[in-house]
Chain length 124, copies 2
DNA sequence: CGGTATCCCCGCTGATACTG
DNA sequence: CAGTATCAGCGGGGATACCG
């Protein structure tokens, strides 16, 4: 287990932010999306936040921003070639997250049983 | 790429927090540590934060808290058996983080070259 | 359409002091 | 030793309005 944790923190940096996972999910799924399409796909996000999160992803070379010089403006976002390499990591996090939700719900069920046993004992 | 992003967010939840990665790093490396040993290993952390982050990890069944009923008090923290299963994920994040730092520094170098070329052009 | 610019709130984090 | 309690600050995130 030879991880220097600063690198883990590096990996976290570009996933952290309330909307980054969902943005990546949408772009991975749909390939290329316009700004307004992303906004519609992310209910509740404001333009400000969408812009901010996209700029961070762009800075990290995960997302590409293509501007069409025209009126009305048109901007398309997509995962960069380099960004595609994040796929396996996202998949690994997804897998772990899935099984963890399972694990937590099992823990929760045990607690429920314990509470029920406790309640039953109290009735006596 | 069939990830529902909520599971990715689940995975993020227990890594998020200013100190969680370092805490896990220490516990993975050293196996078992007392509260004060952890505090010494994490320069700048307050007792309050250390306690809070440990409690969250404990809630997620990643970290085990063993209390010795004695005076003065003694409490030891360690990775749970379940928590050990996070090892591969942490390793994956570490690997990706490592190569990403490399990638970013390459991007930075290109920017430097571009700036130098720009400066050279300006001299003419 | 695809953004900035402002203002504001709340929750994470920290500093400090106290306690069993 | 291993915490809790309390107060304070700062910044991520949101609502709204304006702009090229």
């Amino acid at each position: 287990m030879e991880e220097n944790c600063s690198t883990v923190e590096t990996a976290l940096e570009m996933l952290v932010g309330k909307w980054k996972p969902v943005i990546l999910y949408q772009l991975f799924k749909n390939g290329t999306l316009r700004f307004s399409e992303l906004q519609r796909a992310l209910p509740g996000i404001t333009k400000k936040m969408l812009t901010a999160q996209l700029r961070e992803l762009e800075y990290h070379d995960i997302v590409h921003r293509k501007i069409y010089m025209q009126i009305p403006p048109k901007v398309e976002y997509s995962i960069t070639e380099y960004g595609l390499k994040m796929g396996p990591l996202l998949q690994a996090m997804n897998d772990w997250g899935t099984s963890h939700l399972q694990h937590l719900s099992e823990l929760y069920d045990e607690d429920r049983k314990a509470e029920q046993a406790e309640a039953a004992a109290e009735i006596k």
